[in-house]
Symmetry: D2
Subunit: 371 residues, 4 copies
């Protein structure tokens, strides 16, 4: 019942503040016998790391992860895995103004009211820096998934940034790794660079939408009624900083469809397993995975750190204005891509373990030979 | 870590199948001393009850709730509250065809694969009938909220049905109770009746979007990082049958906004409490309520029970077609309105209790006299 | 976070008061495909039922259990199982005096202080009647265990009642079912009948100690560090009304042993599995079962309902005396035997499911052929 | 669902192995605004630290605790508190023999069977070194308790070591801090030193019993039915390495008492609050604290690391003998005293927070003026 923990059996507790000595993740419930070393996690952290292009915050962080426990002779032992990332760039001199004033659209004011504490150093616990710990934990989940479900893959990419949307017809998965936006479309990558460049120069910011897809996952993941896989993914994504909407498959557009348009018809594959003609459901029926691609999408609001002055109040209740200087992201959604992937990995691994517990892997046969 | 339970401190476990002897909710963690009797719950169940207009399933259920425990001399005692609703209309003769074939877009096939069990009687546990138990439990949450937060209100209404959307400019809260769609717009109510009437006659179905608003709630509800109020509401709504998208405030449209447009500016109210010029955030910043209206929206997909034949397979893996006859809703979203309200009530009460535990009600002062 | 629930994956929530309309257990997490009907549970409830000998309360309860959900065509479905027992003997006329005065040694006073509620009808939720729900739930756990671990057995018996202890040298398992004390020694059964008969006539009461043994259980159940099998069993037993001490294996006497005396030496069995020369550890090492008999013992205090006047206070804070008349057990420990068995069954099933999740059943080999 | 976590709202997850780079505790749910720095925790760690007398292991560990998160400007912030203790003395050269053979009475064999992992370096996760993390976490709980319940105190001491028991008539609380056994009796301290000195020289080991008392705690802590304060304390103590028995108040001896002897009679104190003539119940009735001293006792078995050869098997299933050389405690129970105190502190703080959530601090009045 912890509020810095997610997961049922694969449980991740993140800890640490933006400008404290360190941050990290305590993982409990990782299966034993999974090959693991720090380099396997570093790879994902490097993708999320700030300062990699002019489109992300210029804060310099090494984001080097140490494994302090839970791994022996290169294998997980089944005991808690402690992942620690030291904060190296802790300069807090920029934060003087923010120490007294509340930023509109930011957690400053609610944290102050709830806890009576103002950790003005870059947002403290509410900083998106917390997501580095998620990415590290997601790396562990990926390795465990890889061991349990050979051939599975989890891929995130941006589908919208402000006015710009991808052209689904031009979808090219290979492009994702080739541009700073993880956008699956070479032309979009160029357009978006111009668009965001302008916004950045003007000191503005913009929202984004990210899609994450899991491929090669087995059916039977998820559990009615309150741990539906849709529910779990929605909670996971909505817990990422600045996320305000989550969709599975058709998502909000399901409201506009008829039953005829929405139902994914079923047929038998050559391998004796059920197949579907379409995937409006995002790979989940009744809260349980069908074996199709699992598709989730989420929207990230624009950061409230902008150069245009906004009306606000200070701790004394005086009305004033605020301008947020310092190092910030014009589109925080960019760095949310690896975070969304990490959350997907954690949720799927958790449900793989739950399914082992619940059913022991027994499956209702479909067709003469299926088992 | 139970999958039929939701909530942290106000915990609701629903139980029961569509065509079993009864269904209900086991509530643990309701505070003692809340006035409660069955009539207070019946009121909400009557709103959700099927068969009230030609637009909802013609299944006849009394949906009468009994309180079996947890209430003594008209007050909650702090012990578990057991709410039971007998199923009275259990005829299952209609389900012969469905017993063997899987309905596209329905939980049949995933339940079968996961559990090896086919409860063909109207969907068994995956039936929307489960939501009656949620509505009953939500009634308990409403009474506890009423005792703890005098003057608060929770209101749900439809904002979209297929091609039809409400005109926000014509929003009239008084209309909500006056039409079978709980739509806040008299003209829309008329149009939607025609639209859905046609769909119903043709044996089709359509999706819907519902908005639920909580008014008069205190600030400080919600908890970073993995029990953000947005997260909790997203999980709650996504756990409702057929929901595929959830939004807080601007929701998915936050992806299209700039920082200037999205930030809700702050000023001081006459009562010495902070106020906001707008509510793009849906009343939640950093996962914690601001004291503004809390606004959540969710999309319900169209039911897969339609008269047009769809391709599918049966338990033997044979390809075939299916037509779903029997009593069904052309727009299941209609009856999701009271369910969304119930989930909102449960989540907010839960977080009121959590906030008592976490902070003891201490608040950061804003302004000279605030406390 | 729920206080009327126990278990991690096999979760049992009991509900109901001594004199309300009904009580029962909501079970979430039972595996699908376990054969189950009410008669399988009734068998265990009949053992616990009051009024079966002159040594237990003369309250007459049919204790008939109904299964309201979770079972279809004689098999569990994996959905919540609701078990309900109607209270038939609800006469509360005897309780006038108790409504105002607090019974020394009873939960009256702490419930009143904590909840501000006085459910004077036989103790309300704090009544040992709650244990009927545990026994019913334990029956479900037994059936699931029987399906998963063929040949396992769980047996409880009394080892002490007041001044009387069993003679371990005369231990005869067959005697357990033959006497009203479930004592494994025919001679003891006779002596205890005389002893308790005298106590009953004098309106006194006496404590007891119960031992519960699980045989035929696999190794590898339990989990370090805070879900050690010892820990789980201790919590389970200590949650039974009136229990004040719990022991695993040597228990409190382990304090008196040397390392030489306490270590259970290991050798190889003919079947290539490890065996032990003794069982001081009660079948649990490092929190994990060894495959030996799992042995737990607990002490039940004497009921505070006695005919000798005791000094106390009333709700107005006036000092007074109290004598508890009405129907009561001279040794409540007797009826705790089937309750202890039920708790053991629930804990072991829960850990069987957890072990499936954690390790998938992989085992470190011992010896050349072991797997 | 986590197995390295304890607590409901004050949640402590310990992590780390005996010979890994570090170990520690991740604390989630500490209230904000509690004064805290590392020196407040170091004080308790120093009490538990090995190598302080000839009666504890000669392993040299600085056991210096660092606070990595959750504290800002000397106060807890309500965010997770990460406590890290570096392992400095990691020499593992002594463990060659143990790498292949299983120590009777030790977790070696069950860990191997369950996880297929052999962390032979001093027991890995099953080492009592894990309890350093508990003591650090308990220090945080003590500070929070001190802030919420001024004047409360938690004190542990040994009451038995092998054949030796304390003389309750000679109980002198001031002696506890004056001897290496934390025994409340100067004469016993001398006798025990001789007794244990002999055992140590012979390479033997011995068990112990520890009592922990909480004074000045309010009534109303604890919750029926499955989070009774007795239950929570039993689980907490039984989770400590090598503990095999737990008692509340009279404990196992309650089995021998009559109702007359066991009931603690009630009268009114001069301050208008109820008082009791005795404390057989250990300060807990119906699972809820009475305001009396809360008394728990637990037995620690002798360590299995002894110089006398014991029969065992190795990983290949070969029968052999084992002698455990190296640095070990002749009576591990000594260092369990501060661990028991720490667990008591954590449980009580957790229930203070739960009580705030459940009842908001409302209390049933006893007497005319009470509130």
């Amino acid at each position: 019942m912890s509020f810095n923990t997610f997961g049922h059996l694969f449980r991740v507790t993140t800890w640490g503040e933006s400008h404290g000595p360190a941050l990290g993740a305590t993982i409990d419930g990782c299966p034993p016998g999974v090959p693991l070393d720090a380099s396997m996690l570093q790879r994902w952290l490097d993708r999320r790391k700030p300062g990699q292009s002019k489109f992300t915050t210029q804060r310099r962080e090494a984001d080097e992860v140490e494994i302090l426990s839970g791994v022996f002779e290169g294998m997980t032992t089944g005991t808690p895995i402690q992942l620690m990332i030291r904060n190296t760039d802790q300069r807090s001199k920029d934060y003087g103004d923010i120490a007294e004033k509340f930023r509109p659209g930011h957690a400053d004011i609610t944290y102050w009211q709830k806890y009576g504490i103002r950790d003005y150093r870059g947002g403290g616990r509410s900083s998106a820096r917390e997501t580095a710990a998620r990415v590290a934990a997601g790396g562990v989940a990926r390795e465990a998934l890889r061991a349990l479900v050979p051939g599975c893959a989890i891929t995130g990419y941006m589908v919208r940034m402000g006015e710009k949307q991808i052209d689904r017809a031009a979808f090219d998965a290979e492009e994702i790794e080739r541009n700073p936006f993880w956008v699956p479309d070479a032309q979009a990558a160029k357009d978006w660079a111009d668009y965001l460049g302008e916004l950045r120069k003007s000191g503005s910011s913009v929202g984004a939408a990210i899609e994450v897809v899991a491929q090669g996952m087995p059916p039977c993941l998820g559990a009615p009624v309150y741990a539906k896989l849709d529910t779990e993914l929605a909670a996971a994504m909505m817990s990422i900083n600045a996320v305000k909407g989550v969709e599975i498959g058709e998502g909000m557009e399901a409201a506009g469809l008829t039953g005829e348009a929405n139902a994914d018809e079923i047929y038998m594959g050559n391998d004796g397993r059920p197949r579907f003609n379409s995937n409006h459901a995002g790979g989940i029926l009744g809260g349980i995975s069908t074996g199709q691609d699992i598709v989730v999408r989420f929207a990230v609001k624009p950061t409230s750190s902008i150069l245009t002055p906004r009306r606000t109040i200070d701790k004394q209740g005086q009305e004033t204005e605020i301008v947020t200087k310092g190092r910030h992201d014009p589109c925080v959604g960019i760095r949310a891509v690896p975070v969304g992937e990490a959350m997907m990995a954690c949720v799927l691994l958790d449900h793989l373990l739950l399914d082992r517990a619940q059913t022991g892997g027994v499956r209702g046969a479909i067709g003469p030979d299926a088992g």
